[in-house]
Symmetry: C2
Subunit: 378 residues, 2 copies
């Protein structure tokens, strides 16, 4: 799996279908077929799943939350292991965020200035300072394969002034992150901010472009904005983002959101949704959403999804999993998260095949037709 | 694995060392090497572990709690699947208890008469009646490979009158269970009661013996009595229990308890301890007890137990598992339960090998020297 001759990420686009791209991100630690979905291992684990589970689900790259890991267990601990891979026992590629998004969500607990952000750690009240240089230093210590610049993500809704101010800061911080970044084997991605304002987004990209990032993330979406506003941003950016570098839509999303973003040229996703929904027994399936807590499943002998290769669908019934959820067995969390993550990875594989075959439009239509929060499975 | 020619359990004693026995319980669903330990799958799952985990731990037979399963999901559900094996996806042998022990622990919620026990289900307040005939009928519907007679387990301490009364009832119920039992492919075990009174225990066995059970359980221990009282019972029974049938010590215990019981001829155990202790990060290891929540493990790069073949010990550090426990990741429950169960199964395998080699005494000494609730690992 590891490409021995690589000492840095290489992105290759293998096929196109409209704006959609079928590519590969090649790392010394392995190749990631794109479009790809990264499960979120906030504290160095994707809740309830181990490395073997993640591999089994089809996941090839995971995300680690820099800020969470810096607070617990602390960088001193992870450094002793030579980095996050060895600490958590995951041999594949890892992307770390910069901590910017998490800091913003602390609200009243943080103060922000031009230099960086100061906040009280929710865990123990410790005062913590995050600057672009510190965000990069932590990610270098974590040794992730892709690290992210520190950014300032405005809330939604935000006034034009707020968007403008946070964007100026994001650009300044991107430049400082770029200068601070020294580990050449680690790819560094810039983050395009600018709220739901298309001109701001375009300006953000134009300013970041000459800084020489290995890839571009689109941040500050999936924070409550209406779907058409998000799609308008993706539509505006799809023709300007460079073809030769990966495009990462941060924090997205539901299966339909992935499909609409892939249609607009996105290569990489992360989201807590599959594992969170899995834990809540809200299950995506090839026939639509299945809410396993519904009493109708008490005696249902069928698997959750006959088309799914996950261990639960291969061996167990809806009735047994409904029962396990009802008695609160922790096995439920694992099996249902593993199912949902497997569903996501199977979906992405299907999109990749469709792009290769030039059949993305009809395949996307089929998947979008499943969407809806109502009970869809009969 | 399945022995196609068998249609009922066969017990074979392969070697002896003092009173200790190395044997095999052969079932149509597979062979169980004895002395053996069964993890407890109360509601049809060993909390947090799936069938693949159980196999990986070295477990070959599991216990299901009849009463819990009858209440949730209910026998109607399990019957649709043709029994417990298909419902929970476990292909190996299963032993079910009779529900007697669980009913006794309900205290004020139950009333007992000569015919049986009536109680309110703690889950939903439903009135439920358990008689010897009903306990057998439920176990026949569950389709377990070994089922147990309904017994009346006296509390500890109990007056001589209480012991006498519960023993008389246990014998009556054993006889009625025997008569009610129709599925010949299912082994039926009698349960020797009698509190900590040796003459009562001997009389219990003598009365049960002619009833023709396939094995004998020793019930009513591990309910708070001092260890010497328990060992005295095992010493009194070790020479009278028939050599050609398995001996099952119910609800025991800690590693040292298993060793002292194996020395006294016990072949089969069940206990929630390994999985419960695992969940509480109280870990048995080949070097003694390790309490993983101790802050000293925050930076410890070693595995929990270098001699353990479980996935956590093969791939992960004490520091990472300490961290996962601290952040409350549900993965911890699984990995630590799997470790502790693997420790138990490795211990039993070691005892079996020692019996074969006629070296049980020194091996038992080594294991007993590890005992103690204090932190033993350096």
């Amino acid at each position: 799996m590891p490409c021995g001759f690589l000492n840095v990420m290489v992105f290759e686009c293998l096929a196109r279908d409209g704006h959609a791209r079928r590519g590969q991100m090649k790392f010394p630690r392995g190749t990631v077929d794109t479009p790809a979905f990264m499960p979120v291992g906030t504290y160095g684990a994707v809740k309830g799943l181990d490395a073997a589970d993640l591999r089994m689900s089809g996941s090839r790259m995971v995300l680690g939350n820099t800020l969470h890991l810096a607070l617990r267990p602390g960088i001193d601990v992870i450094s002793r292991f030579g980095g996050l891979h060895a600490f958590i026992g995951w041999e594949g590629p890892i992307l770390t965020d910069s901590g910017g998004f998490q800091v913003m969500s602390l609200g009243a607990l943080r103060t922000i200035d031009e230099e960086g952000v100061t906040f009280r750690a929710p865990v123990d009240g410790r005062l913590f300072r995050l600057t672009p240089e510190r965000a990069i230093a932590i990610q270098e210590a974590l040794g992730s394969d892709v690290c992210m610049v520190l950014d300032h993500c405005p809330p939604y809704p935000a006034s034009p002034e707020e968007i403008e101010r946070s964007l100026a800061r994001s650009i300044l911080w991107a430049e400082r992150s770029r200068r601070a970044h020294e580990r050449e084997e680690q790819a560094l991605f810039g983050i395009v901010q600018g709220g739901v304002d298309i001109p701001s987004r375009l300006r953000a990209f134009e300013t970041l472009e000459p800084m020489g990032f290995s890839g571009f993330a689109i941040g500050g979406l999936a924070v409550g904005e209406p779907a058409p506003a998000r799609l308008a941003i993706l539509d505006a950016l799809k023709t300007v983002l460079p073809q030769d570098r990966p495009r990462y839509l941060m924090g997205v999303g539901k299966p339909a959101d992935l499909v609409t973003a892939v249609l607009r040229g996105i290569d990489l996703f992360d989201c807590v949704l599959p594992t969170r929904n899995g834990r809540n027994a809200h299950l995506f399936t090839s026939q639509g959403v299945l809410r396993l807590r519904n009493a109708r499943y008490r005696t249902d002998e069928r698997p959750i999804d006959p088309d799914c290769p996950c261990p639960a669908c291969q061996r167990l019934s809806r009735a047994y999993l409904h029962h396990l959820d009802r008695v609160g067995d922790p096995l439920t969390l694992r099996l249902l998260s593993l199912h949902t993550l497997t569903y996501y990875q199977t979906l992405l594989a299907r999109l990749r095949t469709a792009i290769e075959a030039g059949r993305l439009a009809p395949v996307a239509q089929e998947i979008l037709a499943l969407e809806g929060d109502g009970e869809a499975v009969r």
